[in-house]
Symmetry: C2
Subunit: 373 residues, 2 copies
């Protein structure tokens, strides 16, 4: 029997991204309880943080009763509108000459964030649409400053169906900005929008206490499993499993280099595995020489350090101490015991950015887990 | 006339990504000249580095006569095959149980990189397909090590239509690895694949000298405008223009904070612009507090530093010293005078990763520039 015939590996090449929509719904429902009696709403901008706005929006609509959705751009609202026959879709970046047509066609709710945009809105007002207004309370990003609110007529102030703002530091429970922004929002709401529902918190604000909830909370990152309250254990369930097959296992001899620019050199003989995933699949290149790949052993995980640079299609990891790993086995990049928050920490960023990158790539074998209810 | 009626800004909300395919073709043709008489081939993996594999492959096929294409995965080959009636499509990650069906259907050319994969190929050999073989010469990534080549029968060695390897440090002209890998590839080719065409260089290797070219060069990054020979001025033309409209301009008072986690605090009164693009559009979050946005003045660019964290949908920049900027004006993130290489340097990564992230996002107004020839 020849050398080759003795090799009976289960050869695979494609990375696999598994998205657990059951858990996403559970997270949404738990968050809804935490913020009750405020109305929950779902942030599905950026293609639902990369994991698929259509299927996420449809699932939340059908399985969790969600009726309020937030996107950034009208083109994003257009992609989900047909799944949401009776929902309100808020468009955070607002309305302009490049999106007016979509607003006219679908009656999305623009969030008006500046005097210029309000002026534009008044010239192009759409029948039966009552926009939301974004007011600035300390983030110094989008939103009306009080100097401009002062100049609005009482008729202009009554145009809106919702007043919203956004917290800057809600993932730090005791940050002085939280109290400051809360007071600022209260004052503005009282003074200019007394009879209009308010929304201040996203899913990081949801853990700060009932006074931050107002009438509606915008549930995003936490629903996707990210710990938006890192000062305590994550109450959310992990939604993402990312894995890729081992294409090859090789010996690395003492003194040899690994990867582009030869940034890793072996001090001793090592065993390496080449895993079929790279930054072209959204894996942050900043994991070079610091990231980890995990392999399933019977009842635990074995950890393999990434060696050298992450390349576009592959990562190389050190499996010298991994007991049972063969060509065709899956290496795990994100899973319940090494979550979006963990990989983000190792990559020097936040789970939001990692998630936003991962899901948009089109070469995964992408699997959605969703049980009928 | 009221306060609002006086505002006549051209309100816009959507970022714009412009891809100049004319320049991409020019780059390909210039590279083809540099490597002549070796055969040029185009690397269109990772959705043509994010900018659209279908349109890039079709353009190179029709406007530049390209007949050899490289992708990483069979699912990528499937997306371009209908545009390329008479081309060879090499699949770098090779063949396995999860892609066999696509290879059988379309007769793509797998690149076999390990004994296990060769064993798999022998069991599932596809009529009329002669695979390529990847040999390892120092990158310690995918490829047959010589120990395994030795064990192959002469019949097995004759199965292949092309022998390839990949350089680790070709962007550093004098790196010792270049010579080392060249010699190693020569030796292996001479010993095992004397009569088979060879390919060692990608577009960084194209600038190292004729001896690196062998029979085929794989043109990728340089074709997309990236400087793969950073030790000298870029000979390639920029292909990418990325811009986004200013949504709002505001005063930032001394002592105020900007963005998430309040990482920027104003020492003096500043004027800020909120620009409608963020990491949800692929802009690296590592540009927080260090990146730049450019505004067009009559005959020059005015530079505005990014303040605070890059968020998912917006960046905030300091326009205190920018003379003429209004709501609705475009801020430029990538353009001829601030290229992929420049933004990558500021973000702490390489142009390849930035490009791979940018193009895949679906909320751009994406414009391809291509003149009829």
């Amino acid at each position: 029997m020849s050398f080759l015939n003795k090799l009976s590996a289960n050869v695979l090449t494609q990375p696999v991204l598994e998205i657990n929509l059951n858990r996403l719904v559970e997270n949404y429902k738990l968050l809804s309880k935490i913020i009750a009696p405020a109305t929950p709403s779902a942030v599905v901008k950026d293609d639902a943080y990369g994991i698929g706005a259509e299927i996420v929006a449809k699932t939340l609509y059908e399985h969790a009763g969600c009726r309020h959705f937030w996107v950034a751009h009208a083109v994003e609202a257009e992609r989900i509108v047909s799944c949401l026959p009776k929902a309100t879709i808020y468009v955070l970046q607002g309305i302009g000459a490049d999106s007016l047509e979509l607003f006219e066609k679908y009656k999305f709710t623009p969030v008006i964030s500046s005097p210029e945009m309000l002026s534009y809105w008044k010239k192009h007002e759409i029948k039966d649409v009552k926009p939301a207004i974004h007011v600035e309370t300390g983030l110094n990003r989008l939103g009306f400053r009080e100097d401009d609110l002062k100049k609005l007529s009482s008729k202009d102030l009554k145009r809106f169906s919702l007043v919203m703002s956004h917290l800057a530091c809600a993932d730090e429970k005791d940050h002085f900005m939280n109290e400051h922004q809360l007071n600022c929002f209260r004052k503005i709401k009282e003074k200019y929008f007394k009879d209009i529902p308010g929304s201040l918190s996203a899913s990081d604000g949801a853990f700060l206490g009932d006074e931050f909830n107002f009438d509606m909370v915008r549930l995003g990152a936490a629903m996707y499993g990210i710990n938006t309250a890192p000062y305590r254990e994550n109450q959310m369930k992990n939604v993402i499993t990312l894995k890729a097959p081992v294409l090859q296992i090789s010996d690395l001899k003492k003194g040899e280099f690994v990867g582009y620019s030869a940034t890793y050199r072996a001090n001793t003989n090592r065993k390496i595995a080449i895993v079929s995933i790279g930054y072209g699949d959204g894996l942050p290149r900043s994991l070079s020489n610091v990231g980890k790949v995990f392999f399933k052993a019977s009842d635990k995980w074995e950890e393999a350090r990434i060696l050298g640079r992450v390349s576009m299609d592959n990562v190389i990891c050190d499996v010298t101490d991994v007991k049972n790993v063969s060509v065709g086995d899956f290496g795990y990049l994100i899973m319940d015991d090494y979550t979006l928050d963990d990989i983000a920490r190792d990559a020097g960023t936040i789970g939001y950015e990692v998630l936003s990158r991962i899901g948009k790539n089109t070469r995964y074998n992408k699997k959605y887990v969703l049980s009928a209810r």
